[in-house]
Symmetry: C2
Subunit: 260 residues, 2 copies
């Protein structure tokens, strides 16, 4: 099977022109088929403030009212997505920017929750792997904005980490998939304050141990749980690490590699 | 050759939720391969006002400074484009929304003008017909936002009429192309104030005559000149008419048909 690398890039890179530019140079030079999934929360928050739209957050998740949905659609699927694509084209990396509605790439449903109304937030139902494969097979790399749709005309705001995971799982039948979560830290850390305490590798046994010893930063637990789910669903390898070290993350020379 | 219908829809439809919805129902039911090109000037103007960005116009063309480019990228390629795609998906019409940077579909250069600096405005250089053909051949209809790129990392604002014309011309080698400009009037009118005075057909001879008699509204002259250029470059038929009559425009039962 061909290799496919799916890379989620975090907000701290998107928000910083210099860091984004250098990350995209690095992404463009990654060989083979690849999909980039981006968020961009801070730019949306800034735009909301400029437009006087108040933002509500619950458990680090944005409550997406109608005005906020409009803003994230503009900022994620418009401004950020198209600027990333244009910059990749300038680096000789042919790319196409999509949201989940495009070609019905990611269908979702509006989140149902017993107590919290998250608003226009979508939980993923299905991925159109054949369109993604057709684009990748034409050497067109895909840049995904974290907006999905319910196929009934509604756009929905969807967590970018989840989108990366769902695409990785769905594409595993067609490619040998490596999933990379790049963010501001060097990987999963033993000491959240000390970037030199990266755990190079985690497997189910060591994960159990680390959790029992209570040494993993609470915020990392859902990411790791998702990583193990992805592995169970056919993804070959998940790496968590610093966006600035993308090439080293891919080769396993940096970051935390999660494997079964 | 397969037929391809390229439809430009004007701002008055985009700005009106009800009209847009009914137009999209009509578009979704058009048989065969199709490309929709949209503008959306008024929504961008409204967003600029909300953000306190002053808009400059020269000869009906927006001067696109850096802030305005950001706004049109968000509004055209984000908000409008993705909402159109989601609504088409809801109507069972598989569609993908692109700007010119996506898959390098439309490459342009920043306009050079001896006296006016239009800012970030792009004049079209080339169309990537093979990606468009590959999508259409997978029964994915294309929705184009009027944003292009210079392949050096710059997004550029480009007139939607021009984009429709350039795509129509470029695709003429691969399909029998019909180009439809849909707007608020019923067609080319003998009396600009009277929608019942549609000229059903114009050819080069009658066009010469109409111009000599000075009966065509000045604003229509560039549209008609462009239509004749498109015909010379291989487009089979150009129709100008009311968006609400889309099906009738396609069959030639409404609007003005321009043919050689």
């Amino acid at each position: 099977m061909d290799k496919l690398i799916i890379i989620k890039v975090g907000g701290n890179i998107i928000d910083d022109e210099q860091k984004l530019s250098s990350f995209l140079t690095s992404f463009a030079s990654v060989e083979g088929k690849k999909i980039l999934v981006h968020g961009g929360g801070k730019l949306a928050t800034k735009m909301a403030a400029q437009l006087g739209v108040e933002q509500q957050m619950i458990d680090g998740r944005r409550i997406t009212d109608a005005e906020t949905l409009k803003i994230v659609t503009m900022v994620y699927a418009g401004y950020i997505n198209k600027n990333i694509v244009a910059q990749l084209q300038a680096r000789g990396c042919n790319a196409i920017g999509l949201c989940g509605a495009d070609g019905n790439v990611i269908q979702s449903h509006k989140r149902v929750h017993p107590t919290i109304d998250y608003g226009f937030v979508g939980d993923v139902d299905s991925i159109n792997t054949s369109l993604l494969k057709s684009l990748l097979d034409q050497d067109v790399n895909v840049v995904m904005a974290p907006i999905t749709h319910n196929k009934e005309g509604l756009l929905l705001n969807t967590n970018a980490d989840t989108i990366a995971q769902e695409i990785a799982q769905a594409m595993s039948g067609l490619y040998s998939v490596q999933l990379i979560y790049s963010f501001e830290k060097s990987g999963v850390l033993l000491n959240a304050e000390d970037d030199s305490t990266v755990i190079p590798g985690i497997n189910p046994e060591s994960y159990k141990e680390l959790k029992e010893k209570n040494v993993i930063f609470a915020g990392m637990i859902p990411k790791l749980d998702n990583a193990f789910t992805a592995l169970k669903k056919g993804v070959s390898k998940v790496v968590i690490g610093k966006a600035e070290e993308l090439q080293a993350l891919i080769t396993g020379k940096a970051g935390t590699t999660i494997q079964e």
